[in-house]
């Protein structure tokens, strides 16, 4: 089995045995539940604010899964094994990101539909919301890898990780929420796809550079 596939399966199994997407989805739905409680159940207000708020909740749910991503590998010595392996660390990092997206990003994407319905989003907009979330969570994971790798050796680095990653979330949020709200869909969708591809291509490289320093 190639190093990519091996890392991918190991990560998937670790994430599933750790409860999988259950906690992030619960977090996601809990965060969307707070919105009408704070804003009031006014239908027109929620209809306008719903899709963007689903996006913010998805971004926060991904953020919450990032802190332990590389910390566990650093603590138990897995990172040293990855560095010893003949496969490039960039590829292994990409595999970890891909596993995170499949285990958490995709379930969140699907949970986006009921969350949007609960926030009164029009039903004909649901496909846009789901497609935009699929691309957006990929972009979040890509840049999130960098933040997780940079803060892997920081104890209780959750707040620092969030601070580092939030400015990187700005472009996908802008275009993703635009797609979800149905504004200028084709242009925004192609730029969002560009954000996702760019983050998936560059994120693992920067994360691998940071991880090499962490094990020194």
């Amino acid at each position: 089995m190639s190093a990519f596939a091996a890392t991918f399966w190991r990560e998937l199994q670790l994430m599933w045995s750790g409860g999988g997407a259950l906690a992030p989805i619960g977090y996601f739905l809990g965060a969307t539940m707070l919105v009408p409680l704070a804003m009031g159940p006014d239908r027109a207000l929620l209809e306008a604010a719903g899709p963007p708020l689903v996006w913010i909740a998805a971004a926060l749910s991904i953020l919450a899964t990032l802190e332990r991503l590389f910390q566990a590998d650093l603590e138990d010595g897995s990172l040293d094994q990855m560095l010893l392996s003949p496969a490039p660390l960039e590829l292994i990092t990409l595999a970890k990101g891909a596993a995170l997206w499949v285990a958490i990003g995709l379930p969140l994407t699907l949970a986006g539909a009921p969350a949007a319905i609960a926030l009164q989003a029009p039903v004909d907009r649901l496909p846009f919301i789901v497609i935009s979330l699929a691309l957006g969570t990929a972009a979040f994971v890509g840049v999130g890898l960098v933040g997780a790798a940079l803060t892997a050796s920081v104890k209780r680095g959750g707040v620092l990780l969030t601070l580092i990653v939030l400015p990187l979330f700005a472009p996908p949020i802008i275009f993703g929420a635009a797609v979800a709200s149905g504004e200028d869909v084709t242009a925004a969708l192609s730029i969002l796809a560009g954000c996702a591809l760019g983050a998936a291509a560059l994120g693992p490289i920067a994360a691998a550079a940071a991880l090499r320093l962490q094990s020194e």
Binding site: V146, L160, L163, I164, A170, P171, F175, C195, A210, L213
Partner: protein, 240 residues
């Protein structure tokens, strides 16, 4: 020039007089620029006297971006050639750039109140400046969270380069986004080309901010190098 200064001993000798000279130059330019901007330049025919906030606001915006560009260059040199002084320079410039960004945001907000009728507008430029400010905070926080100085320097350099890729994308995204959402009521400043009478004090203030940035960065670098020397001396004393 850079090869000459790469030697820390030569750098310390150079900066010992360069920092005070730059600082004095900044004081001279501020002494000329502030009265020029406040009393001897014309008021704007639309914005009136409030246009004078521009002389504090625009140079802060220029050099907060300039400082980030400087940090990006220094981080690149530090990562590729593993040069200690480049790491020190990048770290030293960060708080100055962050404060410039904060000055830009605060004066922009104060300027917006009388001219746009609001303390904060999600205008493209203000939003990207806010993102730049948050990027600065993340960079400074990462430096201080990691104890091992050398590791912190490399990790912060990676973050700085990632931010240098991200900030133009943010700038583009935010411009796209704000044209989509732009409310029609905003009175735009700078629609017409800036007059020569305003350009003089603006460039003087820009020069003053630049010299101040140089002086403060050099002082920060000197302080960091002195701190390292003290730590090394204490270590030697403890071992003896």
């Amino acid at each position: 020039m850079f090869a000459f200064l790469a030697n820390p001993a030569r750098f310390m000798a150079f900066s010992a007089w360069a920092a005070p000279v730059l600082f004095a130059g900044a004081l001279v330019l501020f002494a000329a620029g502030i009265p020029w901007a406040l009393f001897y330049s014309p008021a704007d025919y639309q914005m009136g006297e409030t246009v004078r906030i521009m002389y504090a606001h625009v140079p802060a915006a220029w050099w907060s971006m300039g400082a980030y560009a400087f940090m990006t260059g220094a981080s690149f040199v530090g990562l590729v050639w593993r040069h200690v002084l480049a790491d020190v320079a990048a770290r030293a410039a960060a708080p100055v750039g962050a404060v410039f960004a904060a000055i830009c945001l605060i004066t922009g907000s104060l300027w917006g109140a009388p001219t746009w009728g609001t303390l904060w507008e999600w205008d493209g430029r203000m939003t990207s400046m806010l993102v730049l400010f948050i990027t600065y905070l993340g960079y400074i926080a990462l430096w201080s969270a990691i104890e091992d100085e050398e590791k912190a320097a490399r990790l912060a350099a990676i973050l700085c380069l990632v931010g240098a890729v991200n900030l133009p994308i943010v700038k583009f995204s935010v411009d796209w986004w704000s044209t989509l959402h732009q409310p029609a009521s905003i009175m735009r400043s700078g629609g017409s080309a800036i007059s020569g009478e305003m350009l003089g004090p603006l460039l003087t203030m820009g020069g003053a901010y630049l010299l101040l940035f140089g002086a403060l960065t050099l002082m920060n670098m000197r302080a960091a190098i002195f701190r390292r020397r003290v730590e090394a001396a204490e270590l030697r004393k403890a071992q003896a």
